[in-house]
Symmetry: C2
Subunit: 233 residues, 2 copies
């Protein structure tokens, strides 16, 4: 950890449509420094990647069919609320299918491979600005047992998913147990605090993270818990 | 939301023992401004409140007995790992019983009423510094389906637990669905990024949160999901 973080939303991102190069847009909107982490919401990544499908949003059965198509398994269901597992291994409401902040008649699906999405943005920022940054693609998930949604990482590049502090010592010299910290999720949550939900600020910068966290990272490989070690599948 | 947050760890907190007045210690270590949110780790709150019990930590059965004593229900168990529900309604590993960053031969239990703990610190800071701040008591929890721990709020005062954005509109004028954001958890997660796990920095300040979030808050009332609406009990 470091002593101080600065987190700010990036204004002026404008409308994102299929084919928009997000790195170009972000590079034009903010001055980045080495070791900054850029957090980009899933919504604009999905739009840029053309992950929009037409939907009659007055018809709940059409919405449900789409959710089931995006799911590999339904985990829980109550009325219109479906908690399911996506192909990526995320367990979330509605398989990540989202009707907010998209035009009426359309639904946004999750990116095919959000780690790859993050890598593309990171590579593009490196090429355009000559800086080495981390990128987190964030989405808003609920969770069991606790009310309210929080933002989590669905993809990352150039920034660790999980930082393993096992084997380091606490302030008594005792070896720490169970201290694999999911810094990518904490960075996504922190960024949400300056983004809000109304859709105006889809990009934020987290400046000042521990430089040792800036390494190749992957949500799929580091954060998604394999079924065999999961007590809740 | 606002445009910019600053997050920094508070140095010089020193050793906390039973009866330490945390507000006095914090007030002596950092200059606070109105609307700052002070995040305090459970560990020092438990120490100040004398929530330490002697334990033979070479004896796993003694540790297990203590965990079960602190639980109202075991949710999952695999070997030495116990996920249980505490009296507070938290579902977490080992009922929050923690052996790290305490002297050998002792275990730290969760505060009796972490919202009350937060209120006391907040009231004390108000009395000593004349500033109105929010206080979050944080702890480190695992979660289903995702690897790595993150910090969450177990108590809060003067800052919202959950901010309800339902009924506000997205950037298409459509009413937003499912947008109760758990800002207290996001603030706890953000603070962890400057604290690390080694125990040296048990207090952090989050400066710049949306002023409308600074209102009486409660983890117990706002964040702990009542069993009737919980799909995962």
């Amino acid at each position: 950890m470091t002593g101080r973080l600065e987190i700010f939303g990036v204004k002026g991102i404008g409308e994102i449509t299929r084919g928009t190069d997000l790195a170009t847009v972000i590079a034009g909107a903010v001055e980045l420094r080495p070791s900054d982490v850029v957090v980009v919401t899933q919504k604009i990544v999905s739009k840029a990647e053309g992950r929009l499908v037409p939907i009659d949003d007055s018809d709940p059965s059409e919405r449900l069919a789409l959710i089931l198509e995006e799911s590999v398994r339904v985990v829980r269901r109550r009325g219109e609320l479906v908690i399911s597992e996506t192909r990526h291994g995320f367990i979330c409401a509605n398989a990540g299918v989202d009707l907010s902040n998209v035009d009426s008649g359309w639904a946004a699906l999750l990116p095919d491979d959000p780690d790859r999405s993050a890598r593309r943005i990171r590579d593009g920022l490196g090429a355009r600005l000559g800086v080495d940054v981390g990128v987190v693609v964030s989405d808003t998930f609920g969770r069991p047992w606790r009310r309210g949604v929080t933002d989590v990482a669905i993809g990352c590049a150039g920034i660790a998913g999980v930082v393993d502090l096992r084997g380091t010592h606490d302030d008594r010299g005792r070896v720490l147990q169970a201290t694999e910290v999911c810094v990518a999720d904490e960075i996504a949550a922190a960024a949400e605090l300056v983004m809000g939900k109304a859709g105006g600020i889809p990009v934020a910068v987290v400046r000042g993270v521990d430089p040792s966290w800036l390494r190749p990272g992957s949500v799929a490989e580091e954060i998604v818990r394999p079924p065999a070690e999961d007590l809740f599948r």
